[in-house]
Symmetry: none
């Protein structure tokens, strides 16, 4: 019964695609996937993964992966559920600077969004690094900004892309500083 190694990636997957608010809840999700463990073990697993519980916008709590470094070496490959239908509701704003795309999200959703970007397996994205409410996406040097605009338009709300459009098409820019607006 030493399943930790295979279990941890599953936990990461569950946490990034579901809103898990307690270890008991996580335990149930794991059970569905064939991993039967107690809360005690999960406490250790979560400590190891450096996950943490944060307050969500709507009253509750949610576990997130607090640590960064999971460049797209895809240890747990393309799993089943993902966004894929499109339009990521957790995104608040997007900006471009050099070879980085910076996406602000509602608190706790950065990991999930970064994961979803990875799953696109786009040649334009080398890798992502999620924080608590910010995602850094490293862009391929040879990619055109128009490519990036298309890419992110495919899953970020149109409204957010519209605000950021001038960053993807500088030549059209009207002038005026980038407005990164955080509303809470």
């Amino acid at each position: 019964m030493k399943k930790r190694k295979s279990r941890l990636p599953v936990i990461v997957d569950i946490l990034t695609h579901n809103s898990i608010g307690s270890q008991e809840e996580l335990s149930k999700q794991l059970a569905i996937r064939g991993y039967i463990v107690t809360q005690a073990t999960l406490s250790r697993d979560l400590k190891m993964l450096r996950t943490t519980k944060v307050a969500t916008d709507m009253g509750g709590y949610r576990y997130i992966i607090a640590d960064s470094s999971h460049l797209s070496n895809e240890p747990y490959a393309k799993s089943q559920n993902t966004v894929q239908s499109g339009l990521h509701p957790a995104a608040l704003s997007v900006g471009v600077s050099g070879n980085l795309v910076v996406i602000k999200t509602r608190n706790g959703y950065a990991s999930g969004l970064a994961y979803d970007i990875d799953m696109l397996e786009s040649p334009h994205i080398l890798g992502t690094i999620p924080g608590a409410d910010t995602v850094f996406a490293v862009v391929n040097e040879t990619s055109e900004r128009s490519d990036l605009f298309s890419l992110f338009s495919s899953f970020l709300p149109q409204q957010i892309m519209a605000v950021a459009r001038h960053q993807f098409f500088p030549e059209e820019a009207v002038r005026g500083d980038v407005e990164i607006k955080d509303d809470y």
Copy 2:
């Protein structure tokens, strides 16, 4: 006795400059500064500040400010404590590479430093991501390196800035690549 407004900034200050591992511990620190409150109140305060407990490198836990941008009514923001007085003692070194500024801190202080950078609300900074002992700050494309030097000089020890000066003023540089090192 409705001190929450004045208490929250103090909590932020305590959390960013100390290693607090429990609400009881925070309660004691607050008491020293004249704020007598129960654990129940702190639970609500911390939820409001969206702080969270994370596993530290060795064994324990520590509360950090998970979010970078808070309630828009900014009850504290540019208030008393925190940065302002200048000179962030947790910083160890700073470097620039492309549109990224990389700051090394003493272990566990990256979150606090990133928070302080966010609080500057500088137009030169698009966003930050703290690791355990490293902060990545993404710089606005239109910002000059001299702007960045001024910005960081305002709250990083002069000695550190002096060492990094050649990175902010390449024309004066002697040569030498930026070392972006992530150690975990």
